[in-house]
């Protein structure tokens, strides 16, 4: 094994370690302690925390740790993982550093679906209506983009056309959302905050529902790591290397849309993660997708867990929750710029 590969191996194991440490530490953080407690009664200590985690006798602590914090941390991790991986895949198949999971209109379609759900008579973001509508809206937008491209290019998937159709459909659904929000009147404020993204109320049901498609999708994408590497050389070269480029793009777009749709349904539109995390990982570990894809998953998950920790504890002494979409950009952008300056290469 050459020293460079060894170094990458060490870095990769370090990232896995960081993810586990992130999960453990973030579960310890919250208004009731033991870490960064916001004061107020009751406050748990370290001993109480571990006994609660293992099913100790304080029912309140046990509930807070096992039914409130743990699912929330896990969902944040899952969504971060899904978004970062989707972003990485999109950047590879579009060979465009600005590509992100929302490129094909999932975010605006999802937002339009969410806005539409306010007119179904089943309002508010409790229950299944809003996530379901957001999911269907997101997938509907991608489907529309895909069909448009497919008919325009007579069965081939041309990336320029896909990109343009994505932008056009995205703007269209953006306008639909704006109109629906305007018509919804006073309720638009809450919808707006929902769109900014967050994990305010996360139950185990949501985690399980999100876990299955995101995990299956991530594994599927990682299987195509070699083909994505080939694609980096350009579509023609990839074809010479025996990659069925058209099918590959089709399959990957389907999987990415599914993952992103689930993320949007459960957490709103969290920007930045899908765009920047793959770049940050690429700067650290290089462009080989066999490493890049799983590493993006891990870093994306850890990053969003920490962003959510900040979202729920930054103003926690006042009992205030900040939408996580604000945090990801606010703290993520300077962090990324720091890496960029440190590495001085692109």
């Amino acid at each position: 094994m050459n020293p460079l590969a060894k170094r990458k191996g060490v870095l990769f194991s370090l990232l896995i370690l960081i993810l586990f440490a992130t999960i453990v530490i973030s579960v310890m953080i919250g208004t009731t302690g033991p870490l960064l407690g916001a004061g107020g009664e009751p406050q748990m200590g370290m001993n109480e925390f571990f006994s609660a985690l293992l099913g100790g006798d304080s029912e309140t602590y046990r509930t807070i740790i096992r039914e409130v914090r743990l699912p929330r941390v896990l969902l944040a991790g899952l969504v971060g993982c899904g978004l970062a991986l989707s972003g990485c895949t999109m950047q590879a198949i579009f060979r465009n550093p600005l590509a992100d999971p929302y490129l094909l209109g999932i975010s605006s379609g999802g937002a339009a679906g969410a806005a539409l759900s306010m007119f179904t008579g089943l309002k508010g973001y409790e229950g299944v209506t809003l996530p379901l509508f957001a999911f269907l809206g997101g997938l509907g937008a991608v489907f529309l983009v895909y069909i448009l491209t497919w008919t325009t290019c007579r069965g081939r998937i041309k990336m320029e056309i896909l990109l343009l159709a994505g932008v056009a459909v995205g703007s269209f659904f953006g306008a639909v959302t704006s109109f629906l929000m305007y018509a919804a009147g006073m309720q638009f404020r809450y919808l707006w905050f929902w769109l900014l993204g967050g994990f305010t109320s996360t139950s185990w049901d949501k985690v399980i529902l999100a876990y299955i498609p995101i995990m299956i999708g991530c594994v599927c994408i990682c299987i195509f790591a070699r083909e994505l590497n080939a694609l980096l050389l350009g579509e023609e070269h990839a074809m010479y290397l025996g990659v069925n480029v058209n099918t590959l793009k089709r399959v990957l777009i389907c999987i990415v849309s599914l993952i992103t749709g689930v993320c949007v349904a459960f957490s709103g539109i969290i920007g930045f993660v899908g765009l920047i995390i793959p770049h940050a990982v690429r700067l650290l570990l290089g462009p080989d997708h066999r490493v890049l894809l799983p590493a993006s998953c891990i870093v994306g998950g850890s990053f969003l867990i920490w962003a959510d920790v900040i979202a729920r504890s930054a103003l926690a002494s006042g009992g205030v929750e900040v939408p996580v979409g604000i945090i990801t950009a606010l703290f993520g952008a300077p962090f990324f710029l720091y890496i960029l300056i440190r590495r001085r290469r692109w």
Binding site: E67, E126, A316, G318, V320, E321
Partner: protein, 331 residues
């Protein structure tokens, strides 16, 4: 009549005061208050003597101070009102001006008659329509932006903003509307009866030995009332202790853990156009089964409009909340 005379004397006194103050260029706020007082006193006095309504000359150039501290000058008693907020519409109707309201904002839905009045917009106002309605006075609220105010004023309209900060501020605004509209008597009576109802609740709930149940009042899932909001005021007056009274902002979004930690003894959620919350969705939230209010099944709902709109119906909200929080006091 006696009070009327007393008011006249007061007016004369204030008049003198006003001159002294403004000449010496003292505290601007003081001057404003005095102008307001003069405005109201002269107006109500005029009304009581039966002269104000018939003789617009008498109150020519009347200036009052609105809730933003702006001077609002009226050349005559306004006949045509446009309301820019649902709370304002409720105040205007309660003071008996319903027939003189020619335009309302998009959200005005109470009382029933308000729904049939021309809608002039909300976040975006239809200025052309407003001009065509020829209002004598446009009454806005805190949702009316500075830009909208200057836009309307530049077209020569008198704009008055009612943005009360407390429940007593609402009574002040009712009186103010009564005074400028010439319906002072009805407004005073309304304000007095509302005030009496508030006092009746306070009389029961301000007992020092009374228990103050921890109360969580949400107006949208996970959105609650922090310090400086009407909801916070209402809970305190109703004899409860708002779990979000020390929140960083007035209308915070909260999360499961914080609510569980705060352990409310009473949970109240609003029902109306905005939410689909039910007792069942509250109980089903992650970990909420641990909350005292859920264990003891003290979960209640309240109409969202009466809690959110600073109008006369907020007193209904106060009474409802007091009965929810302290059922033992209202048997």
């Amino acid at each position: 009549m006696r009070t009327g005379v007393k008011w006249m004397k007061e007016q004369a006194k204030n008049d003198r005061l006003k001159h002294d103050e403004s000449r010496s260029g003292l505290n601007l706020v003081m001057v404003c208050c005095i102008i307001l007082l003069i405005g109201s006193v002269s107006f109500s006095a005029g009304y009581l003597f039966g002269a104000g309504q018939n003789n617009p000359q008498r109150c020519a150039g009347m200036t009052v101070i609105d809730d933003l501290g702006r001077n609002v000058t009226l050349n005559k008693i306004p006949e045509r009102f446009v309301s820019l907020a649902s709370s304002v519409t409720e105040v205007l109707f309660a003071v008996g001006l319903g027939g003189r309201v020619v335009g309302v904002d998009d959200f005005s839905d109470y009382p029933q008659e308000a729904k049939n009045i021309t809608k002039v917009g909300s976040f975006n106002l239809n200025y052309e329509l407003i001009v065509s309605l020829k209002p004598d006075l446009i009454v806005g609220a805190d949702i009316t932006s500075r830009q909208q105010i200057s836009e309307l004023e530049s077209r020569g309209f008198a704009v008055m903003i009612l943005a009360p900060k407390t429940i007593h501020g609402i009574l002040q605004d009712i009186r103010l509307i009564g005074l400028v509209s010439g319906n002072a008597e009805k407004a005073m009576n309304l304000a007095n009866s509302l005030s009496a109802r508030i006092d009746a609740v306070l009389l029961k709930t301000s007992n020092a030995s009374l228990s103050r149940p921890r109360t969580y009042l949400e107006y949208y899932p996970y959105w609650t009332f922090g310090p400086g909001s009407f909801g916070d005021d209402l809970i305190r007056m109703a004899g409860g202790s708002n779990i979000a009274m020390n929140a960083t902002i007035s209308y915070p979004m909260v999360n499961d853990e914080w609510v569980i930690q705060s352990d409310p003894e009473v949970i109240i959620y609003t029902v109306g156009s905005g939410t689909s919350t039910t007792n069942e969705t509250i109980k089903a939230r992650p970990g909420w089964s641990q909350i005292t209010a859920v264990k003891e099944n003290r979960i209640y709902s309240i109409d969202d409009n009466i809690v959110a709109r600073p109008g006369p119906r907020m007193v209904d909200a106060l009474e409802s909340l007091a009965k929810i929080i302290h059922p033992e006091l209202f048997r």
